[in-house]
Symmetry: C2
Subunit: 432 residues, 2 copies
């Protein structure tokens, strides 16, 4: 394929006409395709229906230690659930607090508590003039939304293929006491799908923050969400690494079963040092009568153990793999060699990150929408919704059936082409 930039203006104009005709063809189809969020597909949800059968009226809803899951009590989670989620999160059960149905809610709570009560005895953030978070970009919009909601200033740090730019992270964190956290999706990152390299994790654990209440917000949302049996990313476990580095209290690790069992009806957890957990438990006893133990038990009885969960994730992978492969295949076929976009090729997670030419992302997403395809809003992967290059688009292949997805990606590629041609033509015009 000839790169668009090397085409003559006449060639581009001719191409533009051809692409327009194709686009009109899509518009005539009256499509309604949604690739905006990392939602599991119906096929994936069906995988967990057996969970509805593991507890019935004839079953004993009692834990191994005698706790009746149907009644009040047990603030930090039943023992069996801590073991299962501990194995899932690669930490000891004692370093776990089981929460409700949403890890986002745990992160929100963690920031909220830091605002009102501070972190392990430090000044509550609401009494400080300035609080900042580092935000690797592109990143997860719901992370950025939490910090924005609490008036926390967000500082962009570029995501490299190996993770956040650690030179910049080290310099900022050690030099500025107002930096209290960094948002991380370390494995199959949202949206790039890249995982942090060993060096990145080691440097993260060895940070020397100016603020004693600086914490790494380690959202390991896709810890066991692989696409392949063998070709998997591996991440150094951050709690253990922080401990080895002499920074045992520097990290909060978050996870949930949202994309393992049912989104919104799973169980979430935080993992951290005992010092951090004791700090959190001081709040927890005022905050709730405890989380849903019946649902914890349901998860334990269904998955049995981490092996059961991993096997279950292979079934998810069987659904997800063809979708990721279709996206990559179509991007390769349609856009390969054109020099108008680049994309990641993740081995797991829920997203593929696409970068258009500068200044094209908003126009591409808008053009998709006009033909019935909803993508994640351009800019969403940046704090305040402001992508300085207007180039990043998050592709979420999970929800549509494979046929729809292929159609959607063909339409997407077409929109990338159209907007890119327009951009090149406009640039040439303004140069003349």
């Amino acid at each position: 394929m000839q790169p668009y930039a090397e085409m003559s203006t006449e060639e581009l104009q001719a191409l533009r006409k051809k692409l327009s005709a194709e686009y009109k063809g899509y518009q005539a189809k009256d499509l309604r395709l949604d690739m905006s969020r990392g939602k599991p597909s119906v096929e994936q949800l069906d995988l967990s229906m057996g969970m509805m059968d593991v507890l019935s009226s004839g079953d004993d809803l009692t834990c191994e230690d005698g706790t009746d899951c149907r009644n009040y009590g047990v603030l930090t989670g039943i023992k069996e659930a801590k073991e299962l989620i501990g194995d899932m999160m690669e930490v000891a059960p004692d370093n776990i607090i089981i929460y409700g149905n949403s890890s986002l809610n745990v992160m929100f709570d963690t920031v909220s508590r830091s605002m009102t009560h501070g972190v392990m005895g430090c000044t509550p953030w609401c009494r400080l003039d300035k609080v900042k978070f580092l935000c690797p970009v592109p990143g997860y919009d719901r992370h950025f939304a939490i910090t924005e909601y609490f008036g926390i200033e967000m500082v962009n740090v570029p995501m490299l293929p190996t993770g956040p730019d650690m030179d910049m992270v080290e310099e900022l964190v050690s030099g500025d006491e107002s930096i209290k956290g960094i948002w991380c999706v370390p494995k199959y990152s949202n949206p790039t799908g890249n995982s942090y390299s060993d060096e990145t994790v080691r440097r993260m654990a060895r940070l020397k923050p100016a603020a004693p209440d600086f914490r790494i917000y380690w959202d390991n949302a896709y810890g066991i969400h692989h696409l392949y049996d063998h070709d998997q990313d591996h991440l150094i476990e951050i709690l253990a690494e922080c401990k080895r580095a002499g920074n045992p209290d520097m990290v909060y690790k978050f996870s949930s079963t949202s994309k393992i069992s049912f989104p919104g009806s799973g169980i979430a957890a935080i993992a951290a040092s005992r010092n951090n957990l004791e700090d959190i438990e001081k709040q927890l006893k005022y905050q709730t009568i405890g989380h849903d133990k019946v649902n914890q038990l349901r998860h334990v009885r269904y998955f049995k153990n981490i092996h059961g969960m991993v096997e279950h994730m292979r079934l998810h992978a069987d659904v997800m793999r063809p979708k990721f492969e279709a996206v990559i295949r179509i991007l390769d076929q349609e856009l390969g060699g054109l020099g108008i976009g680049s994309w990641t090729e993740p081995k797991g997670g829920y997203f593929i990150s696409f970068d258009s030419m500068d200044g094209c992302a908003k126009a591409i997403v808008a053009r998709c929408k006009k033909a019935g395809l909803v993508m994640t809003g351009a800019g969403a992967t940046y704090p305040y919704g402001k992508d300085p290059h207007d180039s990043n688009i998050r592709i979420a292949p999970s929800y549509p059936p494979l046929g729809d997805l292929e159609l959607a990606m063909e339409l997407f590629a077409l929109c990338v082409k159209i907007v890119s041609v327009d951009k090149l033509l406009a640039d040439r015009k303004s140069e003349n």
Copy 2:
């Protein structure tokens, strides 16, 4: 029975010996009885086991409006659940947000949000020098714990048989802008079991608070938790009454199914004006991916409608009624006419409130404990755990089986007698 105060010192001393011997008899039994919390009994939990069967792998987990309860989406609760809980709370579905498994958590969140973001545009409480809450006493320890956790100053207001002393409430609320809330358990109150009179509710709705962000925290925890089919307390619905009084935004109403289905695995809700709910929803979208819709659907499919729920509560009443009646009967038998204690006779809820002679409550609870009976800590029904008269003790009859409960109440009455005799003897000694 002869009132203890009219007995001679010699008579009291002789009585004391007799009581001591009885007490030793109890100590020899090595009892382990727990009446400390308002926990449903195993028999009550068994009533809801059918809930485990309403959703199975063969069922369609789709709402009437097509929402797949197994996936992300629907922030404020599924429509069917809003209807059911709306009927339970006596408000329209549109005035409801369904939360997770704990109404305490909803209250905590409400205070926490007011601290960090303020109420409907007012200054966040964390930026104010002083924030106060009115606390009808005796009241619910977990309410007081939340306000104490956030450094909110608590002001005692006496609970009368008709509800809080409204003369005092009106004066305080209208004269002090730092008063931002009042904790209320309006029906079968914790711990008195009394319900607010019509006049109290009307005056509550007509408060003229100095603070525009003053809110009534109306924790209607026992709205349908009657003991009798016909002899039931009735409460004027507060949202409607506030609306009629021209104060539509002045109240947050809280409730849950904790003591209807399973504590910790039920669903909780807030009811409020649309203005308040919109204020709350602004936070909710950052706070969570939504609450557990499968569990909402489970409740709807199980109870079907409010009639189903009310019929279910009759089964709870059949378990609770003999327990309440046993407590009252034993208190009457053992302490009636002795002038050493008084108690309430609720028609619903989870508690009976006992008042000893001044200065005796801590000693009674301690003496119970030494014989193997755990009561709610004396003082727990007051802010900061400080009962100025040291007289109030909360009796929670729900958890122990009836036989244990009777034994516990006999032991309790014995401890009241012993401590009261000691008190009378000590008073006489100090008078001499």
